[in-house]
């Protein structure tokens, strides 16, 4: 039987999934649900100054890069499987489409972070 290349994508899927499970709810809460702050989080949390400072720092850059790109890789791998589940099978174009989105998100966020 032919060796599958799934391990590459599966590892990205797993890492992103773990990150999303541990950090996801809190991040969504801070960056979206309560982006204005006041209730639980500080009103300054999503200020340009705060966020810029965070993204300027190399540790911060790394964190943001991994979160954004791994979330994307996690998600597209799962979506690819779901498409298979509903009868859209993993042909080359479908795979390119899915993984392409994650690659784009990765590239864009890397580029943006380098600019900050």
């Amino acid at each position: 039987m032919k060796r599958s290349h799934s391990p590459i994508f599966w590892l990205l899927f797993g890492a992103g999934g773990m990150l999303a499970a541990l950090l996801g709810p809190a991040l969504v809460y801070v960056t979206g649900v309560e982006a204005g702050g006041g209730l639980v989080v500080s009103p300054r949390a999503m200020d340009y100054a705060t966020v810029h400072a965070f993204a300027h720092n190399w540790l911060g850059k790394g964190f943001l890069f991994f979160v954004v790109s791994l979330f994307a890789w996690h998600a597209v791998h799962r979506i690819l499987c779901s498409l298979h589940d509903v009868g859209i099978h993993k042909t080359l174009p479908v795979k390119f489409g899915c993984y392409g989105v994650a690659a784009a998100v990765t590239a864009v966020s890397a580029y943006a972070l380098l600019q900050v």
Binding site: M1, K2, R3, S4, S6, P7, W10, L11, C81, D85
Partner: protein
Amino acid sequence: MRETPARIVEVQVLRYRPEEDEKPVWQSYAVPFTEDMSVLQALQFIKDELDGSLAFRWSCRMAICGSCGMMVNGKPELSCQTFVRDLLPGPVRIEPLAHLPIEKDLVVDVEPFVKKLESIQPYIIPKEPRSLEQGEYLQTPHQLEQIEQFSSCINCMLCYAACPQFGLDPQFLGPGVLALLHRYNADSRDGGRAQRMPLLNAQEGVWSCTAVGYCSQVCPKHVDPANAVNQNKVESAKDYFLRFLSPKGGRA
């Protein structure tokens, strides 16, 4: 000790007679119900008294031979271990195991499963040879525990009826066979891992599994095949990346 039947239960059976039916049809039977009647006994009543042409497999009646799996009210079950009293008031709906080709009535095609089972080298490939005169290999209870659960598989294929990924791709080795493969790989006496790795590594090996997990839920013997499949994804991934480093992992 024939007791007077308390009541009649309707049993609906999905029937398929290859020599006359284009596709399966439902047929309904009235079965007198007794308190300790299993679904298998209900079918036996139908076959003995109402309709001798109904085909289904069974033998041990004690949930160990693995013959009598079928869908009971939509769930994969061993019919000898499923009791009509738990399904009242009915009707009880019985279908052949899902995802498997129907040969006749409740009889599904087992051959592809057996072929897969044969393909995984399901026997000890000794790590170190030992003659009979040297006696048994030593194996501690702890080492035994590593395989005991996975060696309890009765090949009933309920997990195949539970696994949609098998339904979508019948080439998938599937939970039961992969559990058995793991049982040998994890055996302290076995050294055949490298020979079995290519099977795990394939798309039809562990990589078709999307961790649905229903296989383990329906397994009547607590084999936990989902665990066997998914922990081997880690093994397969290691094999994928480390094959260039270690001489053993290298074979595709």
